[in-house]
Symmetry: C2
Subunit: 110 residues, 2 copies
């Protein structure tokens, strides 16, 4: 099992985490991962109206910021939220963002 | 007393708030305002190594995102954090960001 380059927990930077989540598509991916747990990255976001290249860019931003952890298994990339790591370095941040995003989603659906 | 254009509480958007805080200078301004309360904008950030034009841009991003509230009094612009508004729409978000930033600041100072 090979792993792609991604920051150690102590190297996760607040500004990068905020920047990674400050995008509607990436926020949607984060919300989905919060519900589903680990997923092949082609299983999340494939239905979004975003080109595959753009989606790959979004996955990379999330991974390099330390928001997600990617594990390569053969030709599949499994992606999950780094919930424990984020909670350790920025307690409450991920939950407040997820709650805020859920609130918005509910409002948008009426 | 005149007020500049800034979003009503219900128009504050999560992505914009995250984006506004996802910058080292703006995060520093937010941290300072959390300590000082309302300040003339030339009193905060004037010592940062940032051009005045850039600083004005940062203030505008924070204001337009709904992170800060600006009140114009004559030639002075008073700036404050919209803590109550942010806590109302995204509970816990501002505190978790401020805690995370404080933690980083302490680490940087050794």
């Amino acid at each position: 099992m090979r792993e792609v380059s991604q920051p150690a927990t102590e190297a996760i930077r607040l500004v990068e985490v905020l920047r990674a989540m400050a995008d509607p598509v990436r926020l949607e991916i984060v919300q989905r991962l919060a519900v589903t747990g680990e997923e092949p990255c082609n299983a999340i976001g494939g239905d979004l109206d975003v080109h595959q290249t753009t989606l790959s860019h979004h996955y990379r931003v999330l991974r390099e910021a330390g928001v997600t952890w990617t594990t390569v298994q053969g030709r599949t990339r499994l992606v999950r939220l780094r919930r424990d790591d984020l909670d350790a370095v920025f307690p409450g941040l991920l939950d407040s963002v997820l709650n805020g995003a859920r609130h918005l989603g509910a409002a948008a659906r009426g």
